[in-house]
């Protein structure tokens, strides 16, 4: 039953392409999702995250390519492929005239092997125990999101796909979800595929992140890698000085020095920082502090995707 590709990935997107009319919305996207990882799917608004997810779960037909889940093609063996997938696509809309519990009960009937006990378990887990018998109509956005998560993990999927799951959750809820997703991946070997544009979130919860822009995959990187980047000249330092203008004049653009709020910033590693510091002190300026500025994934992401531009 369990079929892993030779490289240990449980899900493969193979040259997935979506064209609507003459527009190419997803362009030849290939991606392997390894087992037991939280995999982030990052991209600015309109880059095609939701469209990709819709194709992965069979809501939209692929123009070209295929998605293979545990050895089954979504195109040709949909029922087998989707059997071990749990998902929330965009907002978790439920039947408003039913209670949260009845919603879960109903979805549980569509997949064999979900006991009432399991339903109670997930209700407890997502923290909806007190309100589960109320009509969904009366739920807040965050509560609906939690119900959506319950619905998605109820049948213990091996692939959990969540489209912007933190949308509408409060900080505590986000944290809980993050911890829970990490736990699912680590302890139960579930592959979690999360899309988001909350970039700082991704850094905290993902093992690996794929970045998509305008329907094209532009990068896949392990989160650990970003920390190593500083040595390679990617780091920046901030200098807190008494006369920033004089300091800038003194440096004359060395090490990419430029004005920053309350001081100046340079680009370069530790050696560069020490050199700049010596220069400033010798020039009679007072240096109150030097801080290393780690380039976060967010900065890198904005750099790569060109900021806020929606394509």
């Amino acid at each position: 039953m369990e079929k892993l590709a030779p490289n240990g990935s449980i899900v493969q997107l193979k040259n997935v392409t979506k064209r609507i009319g003459r527009r190419t919305i997803i362009d030849d996207l290939s991606l392997d999702l390894p087992e037991a990882q939280v995999f982030g799917f990052l991209g600015p608004n309109g880059s095609g995250k939701t469209t990709t997810i819709r194709m992965m779960v069979g809501l939209m037909a692929m123009t070209e390519g295929d998605v293979i889940i545990r050895g089954h093609s979504v195109r040709d063996e949909f029922e087998k492929a989707i059997r071990h997938v749990g998902a929330i696509v965009e907002n978790p809309e439920m039947y408003k005239y039913l209670s949260g519990y009845d919603n879960l009960l109903m979805f549980s009937r569509m997949i064999p092997g979900i006991t009432r006990q399991r339903i109670d378990e997930v209700v407890e887990l997502v923290g909806l125990k007190g309100r589960i018998h109320d009509k969904v109509r009366t739920y807040s956005l965050g509560m609906r999101q939690r119900l959506g998560v319950a619905q998605a993990i109820m049948h213990k999927p091996t692939l959990l796909i969540l489209d912007e799951p933190t949308n509408g959750l409060d900080p505590a809820g986000i944290r809980e979800l993050r911890d829970y997703l990490r736990k699912l991946a680590k302890e139960e070997g579930i592959t979690v595929f999360v899309s988001s544009h909350l970039l700082s979130e991704m850094e905290l919860m993902c093992d690996r992140v794929a970045i998509i822009q305008a329907g094209k995959l532009i990068d896949v990187r392990d989160i650990g890698q970003t920390a190593d980047a500083d040595g390679a000249g990617g780091a920046a330092f901030f200098f807190d000085v008494d006369k920033p203008e004089d300091a800038l004049a003194l440096l004359a653009g060395a090490h990419g020095a430029q004005a920053a709020e309350g001081g100046l910033a340079i680009v370069g590693g530790r050696e560069a920082a020490a050199d700049v510091n010596a220069l400033l002190v010798r020039g009679g300026l007072r240096v109150y502090g030097i801080r290393m500025q780690n380039k976060s994934l967010e900065d890198q992401f904005l750099e790569m995707t060109g900021g806020e531009r929606i394509v």
């Binding site: 469209t51 819709r54 779960v57 069979g58 809501l59 939209m60 037909a61 949909f78 029922e79 087998k80 989707i82 059997r83 997938v85 998902a87 696509v89 965009e90 907002n91 978790p92 809309e93 439920m94 039947y95 408003k96 005239y97 039913l98 009845d102 109903m106 979805f107 009937r109 569509m110 997949i111 064999p112 619905q151």
Partner: protein, 268 residues
């Protein structure tokens, strides 16, 4: 198979957990009771046979059954798109065809429940208030038939034929709901079909072209065939012919509905 029944059970749940549904049943029950009670106790009323009262009520209220079912049918697919729940429904290990079939079956079961309510209540209430006795010939004449069958069989046949028309109209509504994802449009068009149908039919029947025989509209009232054995709606248009035309349209409507639902990109 057992699992598929679970899908139907889910669809039933979606119908019967809504207050709307019970209001529909309530209206039907109240109308039957009201019409019979008024007929029984109004000044100058009170005689007449229970059979003809049942017939009158059926004539008036079966349209109600059709309208209510059209409303439920129009909502069943379009509603899932409007609310966005279609996304959660379709990402289960079931083919779209089966999910759609479970919806269709639940709508038909609802229609059957309404029609059965009308039949049983109409029979029961009128039997109590008026009695179902009387000379058979007289009763059959009052019901408007020359056939020699028991009044009960006649009523059953009448319901059967009405139910065939209902299936056609409700299936059209189901198709519009699926194709256009708009419940309002589905209700509007199918009711126009139902109401406007009889007027247009009368006009069409005047036309002496052969193609008129193949129009769906003129075959929607099969109860005409109950008037007498061998009745012909138009020259050469027998009950068998009508049923054949209806069957052809039915297959076509169902095919379009399933095809569109299976191919549709869900992007709500």
């Amino acid at each position: 198979m057992f699992d598929f029944l679970q899908l139907v059970a889910n669809e039933n749940l979606k119908i019967y957990r809504r207050i709307r549904t019970w209001i529909m049943f309530g209206i039907l029950v109240i109308l039957v009771l009201a019409i019979s009670l008024i007929a029984r106790y109004m000044p100058g009323g009170g005689d007449g046979s229970g059979w003809s009262m049942m017939m009158t009520e059926t004539f008036l209220l079966f349209i109600m059954v059709t309208i209510f079912t059209v409303v439920v049918s129009a909502e069943t697919v379009a509603g899932e798109f409007t609310s966005g729940t279609i996304k959660l429904l379709l990402i289960r290990p079931w083919s779209r065809s089966k999910i759609l079939l479970s919806k269709y079956i639940s709508v038909m079961l609802f229609a059957f429940a309404l029609a059965a309510t009308l039949f049983v209540l109409g029979f029961g209430v009128n039997a109590l208030l008026f009695g179902m006795g009387g000379a058979r010939e007289e009763i059959l004449a009052a019901l408007g038939t020359n056939r020699d069958i028991s009044p009960f069989s006649y009523m059953l046949a009448y319901y059967g034929f009405e139910f065939i028309s209902l299936i056609m109209i409700v299936t059209v509504s189901f198709m519009i709901s699926t194709v256009f994802r708009s419940g309002g449009l589905a209700i509007g068009l199918s009711l126009f079909f139902l109401m406007g149908g009889s007027v247009v039919t009368m006009l069409l029947m005047q036309l002496d072209y052969a193609w008129v025989d193949y129009l769906l509209l003129i075959h929607l009232d099969l109860t005409n065939y109950l008037i007498e054995p061998g009745f012909e709606l138009r020259d050469g248009v027998t009950l068998g012919f009508s049923l054949g035309v209806l069957a052809a349209y039915y297959v076509l409507i169902i095919a379009v509905t399933w095809l569109v639902f299976n191919k549709r990109d869900v992007a709500t």
